[in-house]
């Protein structure tokens, strides 16, 4: 126990000195578990997060917007790949992580359990959902686990581009026909509160925050990040003539921040538990893709084995098909 204590002590001192933890470094088991859980959840969120936006790719209203949306959803798939790879540095396989997702054992961001109901949702997701994600991810670029921090640097660059694209769609819709403006307002109404919930429970109800802060996995609390997001986003809504759906929203001269109304944590809990509007559909869609892809993956494996065997076999001069 004494030795373990000393290792943990040195680990903490190493982190306190702003060093990055690398895959082969000693780390407390809980640190490893926390990082694996967080990275795999993050990877799953990218992959499940492709679905609500993919829902509108075939209906994108112009060729340009179709290309932008396709490229964006594709980027998310790419982020999923980096994050699965980063998580694999801690000895957990991508297959295992995906298996946990498909069986409903692993979590992903609850925001993706909400439906995309009109084209302005493509704007709202970029602006609000990616905006909220960035607030979190900018912080994660300095997280203490090296591979995670490095993956986030690249992801953040693409996400901030997505956020600007999303805001561009909202700005365009808000300045369009009355029907388009109504779509934009409807999208904001539906995505605002779920976006605020993305930062997680209030600090008082978040028992893991203190340890994550001490290990510098997180560097800001849920409430701090949420407040930053509100402060940044409310003026953006006002600028394009949309109304944030919160009657308590008010600028506070004393604190220098916006005060905002209470979050419906019961809704949050229900969506996390699997009772959101799309939880079952999202998981079913991932399972369907996985199951229908089984024969393809099996065939690819079988073919690769045949190729290896052929490469290893001596080339026969009499049998041209052997080459």
């Amino acid at each position: 126990m004494g030795e373990e204590f000393s290792l943990e002590h040195r680990f903490q001192a190493y982190i306190d000195a702003e060093n990055k933890i690398e895959p082969k470094d000693w780390m407390p088991e809980n640190y490893r578990k926390t990082i694996v859980r967080q990275m795999s959840q993050h990877a799953h969120s990218e992959v499940v997060g492709m679905l609500p936006e993919a829902n509108w790719i075939t209906r994108a209203p112009s060729l340009r917007s179709k290309l932008i949306l396709l490229a964006k959803v594709q980027d998310e798939g790419g982020h999923g790949l980096y994050l699965y790879s980063a998580a694999e540095t801690l000895g957990v396989s991508r297959e295992q992580m995906i298996d946990d997702l498909l069986q409903g054992k692993a979590k992903y961001s609850s925001i993706f359990n909400y439906p995309t109901l009109n084209w302005a949702d493509m704007g709202a997701i970029g602006w609000l959902v990616d905006g909220a994600a960035i607030a979190n991810q900018v912080m994660l670029c300095r997280t203490s686990y090296g591979p995670y921090a490095r993956a986030m640097v690249r992801i953040c660059k693409e996400e901030s581009f997505h956020q600007r694209q999303g805001y561009e769609i909202m700005m365009h819709m808000a300045a369009g026909t009355p029907e388009q403006k109504a779509m934009a307002q409807d999208a904001l109404n539906r995505w605002w509160w779920p976006a605020l919930m993305m930062f997680g429970p209030a600090d008082a109800a978040s028992p893991n925050t203190a340890q994550s802060m001490a290990w510098k996995i997180k560097r800001k609390t849920n409430d701090e990040l949420r407040q930053e997001f509100v402060d940044k986003t409310v003026p953006q809504a006002t600028f394009i003539g949309l109304t944030v759906p919160d009657s308590h929203l008010k600028w506070n001269e004393v604190t220098g921040h916006y005060d905002f109304g209470p979050i419906d944590w019961e809704e949050f809990t229900q969506v996390v538990k699997g009772n959101g509007p799309c939880n079952k559909e999202r998981l079913a869609a991932r399972n369907k893709a996985h199951q229908e892809g089984q024969w393809v993956r099996d065939a690819a494996t079988a073919f690769a084995k045949k190729q290896q065997a052929r490469a290893a076999a001596p080339v026969s001069a009499t049998n041209p098909s052997a080459a």
Binding site: M50, A54, T58, L67, Q74, E292, D298, A299, A302, F303
Partner: protein, 254 residues
Amino acid sequence: MKLDTCDLAAYATMRADDVLILGQRLSAWCGHGPVLEQDIALTNIALDLIGQARAYYQLAAHGSSDGQTEDTLAYLRDAHEFKNHLLVELPNGHWGDTLMRQFLFDTYNFYLLEALTKSSAPELSGLAAKAIKEVSYHAQYSAEWVIRLGDGTEESHSRMQSALDILWPYTDELFEDTSLDVAVHALQVGPLPSALRADWLAKVSEVLQMATLTVPSLDGYHQRGGLHGKHTEHLGILLAEMQFLPRAYPTAQW
């Protein structure tokens, strides 16, 4: 003799329709692929094809006197006005169906673009020179998948043979010379599609043999009509989905 602007626009529109409709089909895979890497790769091909469609439509719209744009051409024409080959509008089916359709089309598209790089119309030769770089990669990718799945497991082999058998009757149309093709060819603007058949068949046969698949007989009955606006039932549904927003909100700008 100079090619009529209308003819060039009609020719570019015809080329665009193929790649738009196929790109639209592929885009429906995004988020649903059998493995993340392939989901990303197929989305890349969809992006390239829709990008090529934009370039062709812009070329077509450039000469138009009636205010056409890339988007009016894509979104405000009905099925009978589309002049794509039937092959590209067929439903995605499973991954093997999609990749077999892609392989048959990519190989055709490669030889078509190769000919178009020598077009006497600089707008077309420039467009083709850029597109052929993308399509070389598409053709390689889809051929590799056809080989991998054809020569994979018993199940994958049988799925690929059945995909090939179903799609084969739609390939003859790729080499149909319409009156527009003849006019375009006379001015060295584009190839006669019938002249692309030999190269296509040689390449396709080579890949299918490597995939251990049986080339269906050439004398079967072939499906045609797309180039004259007579389509399958599938195109109307595809367009209904694709064109919904601009049709429902005609005064909106997107």
